[in-house]
Symmetry: C2
Amino acid sequence: MESSRDSVASNTAQTPLSYDQAGVVYDLIDPLKVAAQRAAAATAGHLRTHGYTEVTASRGESAYVVDVGPFYLASIVECLGSKALVADEMARLTGRSAYEGIAQDTIAMAINDLITVGATPLVVQAYWAAGGSDWFGDSARAQALVAGWKKACDTCGVAWGGGETPALAGIVEPGRIDLAASCTGLIQPKERLSVGDRLAPGDAIVLLDSSGIHANGLSLARKLVERLPEGWLTEVAPGVCYGEALLAPTVLYSPVTEALWRAGIVPHYCANITGHGWRKLLRHPTACTYRVHTVPDVPPVLRFIQQHCGLDDREAYSTLNMGAGFALFVAAADAQRTVEVARASGVGARIAGTVEAGPKQLLIEPLGLRFGDDDLQLR
Amino acid sequence: MESSRDSVASNTAQTPLSYDQAGVVYDLIDPLKVAAQRAAAATAGHLRTHGYTEVTASRGESAYVVDVGPFYLASIVECLGSKALVADEMARLTGRSAYEGIAQDTIAMAINDLITVGATPLVVQAYWAAGGSDWFGDSARAQALVAGWKKACDTCGVAWGGGETPALAGIVEPGRIDLAASCTGLIQPKERLSVGDRLAPGDAIVLLDSSGIHANGLSLARKLVERLPEGWLTEVAPGVCYGEALLAPTVLYSPVTEALWRAGIVPHYCANITGHGWRKLLRHPTACTYRVHTVPDVPPVLRFIQQHCGLDDREAYSTLNMGAGFALFVAAADAQRTVEVARASGVGARIAGTVEAGPKQLLIEPLGLRFGDDDLQLR
């Protein structure tokens, strides 16, 4: 009988595991976010006193952009989230530190958002807040964090400016670390600015491959482990266990966007596919229909999570990246070359669909899925 | 007998409370810092591939500076530290939220460092990492944080670009919040760059008043409360209790540095007096003697901490700001006008001393104190 083949899957299929169960309650955070967004927007006028102006269209986008005259300035701060907890569990089980990859994840959170507006990332600052001075006393782990941070900066061609390494006993849990990165970049020449005014029907959607879960959906992934008979060590693919697979570092996409610029391709819009999964394809504020005809292969760890959490395709694609980490919306004539440039930069890519005139919706045709405007409210 | 006059003071005088006892062990953090600084310095070359260059003298200064052609770009990320724990304790005792002031403290940590290099702060990003979604459910507290953040941005004339509000259960302690700010600014015109090459014997030292402990020394201050018979509610001045006094928000100094620029005064060097107290006056790398002839009044809460922790003047001035939150090193001819400009901006100030040729040392003459080069190793 099929149900006996995989008792975990059949078990969880009866009691699906949702994001709310994983402990993140957006209803509690959202009123604060709205108040903060309003207050933040009201400060834009200060820039004029210094002779600069806000690019108002960047409010609500992934990075904030200021017109400083000869070029635009973009800045951001981003948190890793809870992926470090997986690294801690795996270190406990295997004795190996995964903090080199965790460093890359943290930088990717900032860099991959910053580049959506067309910026070249220039400077990264490290924010490493530990639960106590003793976190830094594990020198193998600390050195892995440093080495990974440096390597990710090298990959992205950014300068590591400095940062903070506070010991925050009483605020950060003992033995844990809160990791974040801030990033500043320039949009030069100004034609590289990408805040969506160029997006138009007829554009192609190019999806760049993810390496796995990246750093979004980890609360759900950590919750799932309680249901797995072998926990973190459960196999998700031959020779690869769940914990290891989750720890695949997030792809850094700035080498692709920089290579595109050198190749003369300016994306009309970009979306970093993080929280809210493929609903991020609906990020652009105007009404267009996004028709996807080709989906990437789903990384084994994401297929595993979908199956064992009992998520249908709609839930899976609206929560996880399902193999697509970054979306580029480009002129149809540039689409094939965009794919080639990405691949030459070492990142898998495919033409996945088209932008059409029509109601605001995302159609993932191979899966028979439709997401409407109601499905994503970020602004 | 004098020892019976103040049993707490005499008690603590026998067992002084040091910073190490307060739980921050720099010996564990410092090897990581050195490794990180070396790795960071090795990334500077990436800027050249984009056509920019690092201002190498800014490595080791309070903010990182890049020459982007028409002007300099400065950036930073800074943590509040543990001051929010005092706000939480006082809220528990009084029912009042101090998070409006805490927001100002957090922004001050970033802004007051950024301006040391001559930058005009332009954009602040908020990093508010809570121990769970429920932190944001206390709407009075959350709204105070938003209001205070907005107000501090208004005071400094910066745009609040956005930020992150993650819920990090398992990393941040339940009910707590890890607060940080990143800030990006421009140094324009480039003559405003202040990384110390102008500092010279004959310069005057102008000290700007602090409002109290600011956000450095809080681990010690929190440790002390265990020894106070009435704890947080112990009076430190008529009608002002210890907890309230500690929560006086950090002074924002960018209105002073911006007003100085408008008045035609370019500081030769600046030092934000934070951790390591007055030893920060020794921050500049070259050998000079800093002779202080006038010290500011000590805020009651700092005098109280000194007395009740049993710190001698040497320990107190090498740990706490003791009334001076920011140091400006200016041409002697500009000194009096610097004081006037600061006061006109609402910040108390005084000419406190002079820079002289001589061995690297800080002489605080009214207190008979000398700090040598060995007393501060930041690089």
